[in-house]
């Protein structure tokens, strides 16, 4: 495996909270341009793994490497975001008192300092990108709506749109279809596949149907470490996976 193809590299990562080992000697490799689905029972450490990658939680030990050279454990959330890792939360999190458009404006890549924000003026280029994203996330008719007034699914999309505006190399997506209708789920899968053409994506999801629709390599976590990895069919036939997760 050549280092330059590896976008994200976790090796021997462990973290525990008050004696509880949330992540236990976890290793994971994600190639540039790859989409990966993470499955696993509740408490398997999926969200904690994302916390570690995005700098919210510091691992007790282990190596977390991005883009072959950056040690993510040495950076905080904002820096990691600027390195090109975007994250979507389990519960859709958008700025409810801002309009859809303002949500995207805030997410657009660009200078992040307070002073540049104070005297910021929107350029034609930025307007164009926002237009594009609004179209991609199917919200172009609602640009002036307050985000608070969007439906649950629309909020999920808006959040994905914000990630796109951020222009990341790697997207971490936590349960994107929770609470969505079937139609919305299908639409979301399509959206993610579209996105994965240009960047790497890590999707955490319970919905097997959805995972199947993504049609990518699957990693199953259990008790903080990797239980099995491979195609969905391969993983879902693994005896241990069936025992701890699928079978019940």
């Amino acid at each position: 495996m050549k280092a330059q193809d590896t976008l994200l590299y976790l090796d021997g990562v462990s973290v525990s909270f008050d004696g509880f080992r949330a992540i236990n000697n976890l290793s994971l490799v994600l190639q540039a341009g790859e989409m990966r689905a993470i499955i696993g029972p509740n408490g398997a450490g999926k969200t904690t793994m994302m916390d570690i990658i995005t700098g919210k939680t510091r691992p007790d030990c282990g190596e977390v490497n991005f883009n072959g050279e950056v040690d993510l454990t040495k950076h905080d959330e904002a820096e990691i975001a600027l390195l090109g890792i975007g994250r979507k939360f389990q519960k859709p999190t958008v700025f409810e008192s801002h309009t859809v458009e303002d949500n995207l404006v805030l997410a657009l890549s660009g200078p992040r300092s307070a002073f540049s924000a104070l005297f910021h003026r929107q350029s034609a280029n930025e307007a164009e990108r926002i237009e594009d994203i609004l179209y991609t996330i199917r919200l172009n008719g609602k640009r002036d709506w307050l985000a608070a007034n969007l439906s649950h699914g629309q909020k999920q999309w808006l959040e994905i749109g914000m990630l796109l505006a951020q222009d990341p190399k790697l997207l971490l997506v936590d349960e994107p279809v929770a609470g969505m209708t079937d139609a919305e789920t299908a639409e979301t899968a399509k959206l993610l596949r579209e996105i994965a053409k240009t960047r790497s994506v890590l999707v955490v999801e319970h919905d097997m149907h959805f995972v199947r629709e993504l049609d990518v390599k699957v990693t199953c976590l259990h008790e903080g470490s990797v239980l099995a990895e491979g195609s969905l069919d391969f993983v879902s036939n693994d005896q241990r996976v069936i025992e701890v997760y699928l079978g019940r």
Binding site: A78, F89, T93, S97, L106, F119, H120, M162, Q166
Partner: protein, 393 residues
């Protein structure tokens, strides 16, 4: 051109407030100084300094709203910045007394003479110069806020924890300023002022000028706040208030944004204190009382947090109520004030301006319902207030 620039940064309500403030900055002193006392439009000096005092409180409230209303940082210690600004101005006024103090000491303020201080402490140097003092008015609260905020925001102290340590900050300062050994006059504070910039502080004309300055500074504060809030920075702040983590994962250094607005707000509070002192004639440690800071929070809440103009209305109204009730019902006025706070939080959760706002929204809704049957208003409404972000998680 200028008006156009102005209106791109200020909404209509802010514009009206600024216009009104500028108008009273000129009209009130004119009416006080030029109209005869018999005229029904004459405003007595008593009212000029009273309203002047209210306006300094309003300035404090605007400063507090900037951090609380728009950035979600509930400060229970903003009175400390106000008091520090006040002390800086008080020190200037003290030095202006010069040899006219009761002990006729050309350098030492009276309280130092009778407590047997031999020389001026170093931190009093320079305060005989107005511009130095004016600089300190913003610098001292600013530096304290910066240091405090730098520590707190970097460590991600939020919600109630932050509120309580701001309270600890002002409480510690209260105790410190009470100490005579600090060199700020102990509990009696700084008083017996004579001149400001060569004008007698007690003269009617000086009072009018101070009043005008207060009104203009308040107008400026409204403008600055509007400018900040309507910029992208303001949107970031609201984003921080509503979903701090989202902001962080978008790559914003949330602590720096907070620190920026926190420091600006502390400086505004310092200016408010500096304008307050010459109009009230005394500054003493009671300004550091945690209760004072809590009251300032209440002004903001009553007026409507997250609206720039609301806190002005709240500060003036609550203080007017206090003035009125303490004279009209001296024995039971606390019942009235206490009840006011309860009623406002229960029935006007968005404050007075919020009530006005939701009333307008409702009208707009009704109109919209007439137009089509969609129940939700798709129109972005600046008045819409948010439910409390998970501040005390």
């Amino acid at each position: 051109m200028i008006t156009q620039w102005f209106f791109t940064h200020v909404d209509r309500r802010g514009g009206v407030a600024i216009a009104l403030l500028v108008a009273i900055a000129f009209l009130v002193p004119l009416s006080n100084l030029l109209l005869p006392e018999s005229s029904p439009l004459h405003i007595p000096t008593y009212l000029v300094s009273l309203i002047g005092k209210y306006l300094t409180y309003a300035l404090l409230a605007v400063a507090l709203d900037l951090v609380w209303g728009f950035c979600g940082i509930l400060s229970l210690g903003h009175g400390a910045f106000f008091a520090l600004g006040g002390y800086a101005m008080g020190m200037y006024l003290m030095r202006q007394i010069g040899p006219r103090g009761v002990y006729a000491d050309p350098v030492l303020p009276d309280f130092m003479v009778f407590l047997n201080w031999k020389e001026l402490p170093w931190f009093w140097y320079g305060f005989d110069n107005f511009w130095f003092a004016a600089l300190m008015v913003v610098l001292v609260p600013g530096v304290l806020a910066f240091g405090f905020g730098w520590l707190a925001f970097r460590s991600r102290v939020t919600g109630v924890y932050l509120s309580i340590i701001t309270q600890a900050l002002t409480y510690a300062l209260l105790l410190a300023f009470f100490r005579n050994d600090m060199g700020f006059g102990g509990n009696n504070g700084l008083t017996d002022f004579k001149d400001i910039l060569g004008f007698n502080v007690q003269a009617g004309s000086t009072r009018s000028i101070l009043f005008a300055a207060t009104a203009l500074f308040l107008a400026l504060a409204v403008f600055v706040s509007s400018f900040i809030i309507r910029s992208k920075l303001g949107k970031v702040l609201v984003g921080v208030r509503d979903a701090e983590n989202r902001m962080r994962f978008l790559g914003y250094r949330v602590d720096r944004y907070k620190l920026f607005v926190w420091t600006i707000s502390a400086m505004m509070a310092g200016i408010a204190g500096a304008l307050y002192v010459p109009q009230v004639g005394i500054i003493n440690p009671s300004e550091f009382e945690p209760a004072n800071s809590i009251e300032a929070v209440i002004w903001v809440a009553v007026g409507g947090r997250g609206t720039i103009v609301g806190p002005i209305i709240g500060a003036v109204l609550v203080n007017f109520g206090k003035t009125y009730f303490t004279a009209a019902f001296p024995e039971i006025w606390l019942f009235a004030l206490g009840a006011l706070f309860i009623v406002v939080t229960l029935f006007l959760p968005k404050g007075i301006l919020g009530l006005y706002g939701s009333w307008r929204t409702r009208l707009a809704d009704r109109a919209a319902q007439k137009r089509d049957s969609t129940s939700q208003s798709p129109v972005a409404n600046e008045n819409v207030q948010l439910t409390e972000p998970q501040a005390a998680e």
